[in-house]
């Protein structure tokens, strides 16, 4: 009997890996180790419906498929180390899991602000269902909510909190929220839309401190002013969950470096056999754009990278002669992204933040519209509000 394929991280990426292993014909054992107590669920609703309503795990859980009914779930348990010589993972209960292939799918966690006085109650970050449930309890009408970071998650939470009747202020380090990905024209329009719903922006600003008794009552801004605050939400980016891999020789300089077959790469640039990484934590080059490895925090990437890794793992385990040709194949998934704020539904393909010029190509920025994103003369992305068939038609240009 072969050792199991061990997947660490029980979220979308981990689940899709298990399903894809079965779809590619792997019949052997699969173990999934996950720190959260819940089975995999969909994160995007966490900044939207889950904050607004009494949504349970059941409502956001991914549907379980018959093919993966025999997966060995080890939940509420962290992987703490890997022994590369013996091909084993040790978890936080001390259990040792031998693997035939190891899939790293541990994703990200929110960065936190480094604040003196930082142990005051009322500080939040949003990544897990439990985070969302804790935050929901505090988003009461009239509460002074301060969101640090005007990226997509910060702005989605701002929209949800504003609709719930909170008094919302967003503190952002650049001139418009979502400026880096969206470009000035669309970012400014989104800002106006938020302001029309009562959200205030403090732009080109950052937080320097918090004060209160046992709870946060005030936030200090870098221009010397202070604002009232009952709930502080920190949406200032993410760090990779890779501490448990620190005893390995994997290149962890930003997430887990992998090749086009999702195989982990060592600090000396060699392929590490049997070890793969997928999802938000994986850093890989996408030949659609160039040969620079990057992490991609877009919802379709865990699924795409999981399928790629599973295909390669099945060939590895069956000593299939196609393994060598398979790993040489190009891997160029088209990133796709969406964001819902009020009744605005943004849909994007490609990698907007690589662009240096943004051009309106259809519609009107105050209504339905489509923008093209270029780096030099290369098209790197498209983003639209409405006009779905126009936005859709661009996807083929990246394939």
């Amino acid at each position: 009997m072969n050792h199991p394929v061990v997947i660490v991280g029980a979220s979308m990426g981990g689940l899709r890996t298990a399903e894809s292993l079965r779809r590619f014909g792997y019949l052997g054992p699969i173990t999934i180790i996950g720190e959260e107590a819940h089975k995999p669920y969909n994160r995007p609703p966490l900044s939207k419906e889950v904050l607004a309503n009494e949504v349970t795990h059941e409502a956001v859980a991914f549907e379980e498929r018959a093919a993966t009914a025999d997966v060995n779930w080890v939940l509420g348990t962290r992987a703490v180390s890997v022994d590369q010589e013996h091909n084993t993972v040790t978890d936080s209960s001390g259990m040792v899991h031998p693997y035939s292939a190891l899939v790293i799918a541990t994703g990200l966690r929110p960065k936190r602000l480094n604040l003196a006085n930082g142990d005051l109650a009322g500080r939040h970050a949003l990544r897990t269902l439990d985070d969302a449930i804790n935050l929901r309890a505090e988003l009461t009408p009239g509460a002074d909510v301060v969101i640090v970071g005007g990226g997509f998650i910060g702005c989605e939470v701002a929209a949800t909190a504003a609709k719930l009747g909170c008094d919302v202020t967003v503190i952002h380090h650049s001139a418009h929220p979502m400026l880096r990905p969206l470009g000035t024209e669309l970012a400014r329009q989104m800002q106006l839309r938020h302001e029309a719903e009562g959200v205030r922006f403090l732009l080109n600003r950052s937080v320097v401190g918090v004060s209160g008794d046992s709870r946060i009552r005030e936030v200090q801004i870098d221009d010397g002013s202070s604002i009232k605050c009952d709930v502080l939400i920190e949406a200032v980016g993410s760090d990779s969950n890779t501490e448990w891999l620190e005893s390995t020789n994997i290149d962890l300089s930003d997430g887990v470096l992998v090749d086009s077959a999702m195989r982990a790469i060592s600090t000396s640039g060699n392929i590490i056999p049997k070890v793969y990484a997928i999802g938000d934590v994986a850093r890989f080059a996408n030949p659609i754009f160039d040969d620079v490895p990057r992490r991609v925090e877009h919802w379709n990437i865990p699924t795409e990278t999981a399928k790629r890794a599973a295909d390669v793992i099945v060939a590895q385990l069956s000593d299939d002669e196609k393994f060598e040709s398979l790993v040489q194949e190009q891997f160029k998934p088209v990133p796709s992204f969406w964001s819902d704020q009020y009744d605005i539904h943004l849909l994007a393909f490609g990698s907007l933040s690589l662009s240096d010029t943004v051009t309106l190509v259809a519609g009107d920025v105050t209504g339905e519209c489509v923008f093209e994103y270029h780096r030099g003369d290369q098209l790197v992305g498209v983003c639209g509000i409405g006009m779905r068939s126009v936005v859709q038609s661009y996807r083929a240009k990246f394939i």
Binding site: E63, N300, W338, G386, R388, S389
Partner: protein, 63 residues
Amino acid sequence: MIKVEVDMTKCQHYGQCVFEAPDIFRLNSDDKLEYTAEADDSERANIEAAIDVCPMQAIRIVE
């Protein structure tokens, strides 16, 4: 035969499913989703792929 169901209260007409199972899902001229509720068993893999990519997790196979 497979029965396909899309929860139209969840669907935001993102059309991601269209790329995975073009014979089942399409956007109509108003950019709204239309789909075929009954599909041949040979479509199962495509429909499962469509379920995987649906941002709203609105698609289900009803056995």
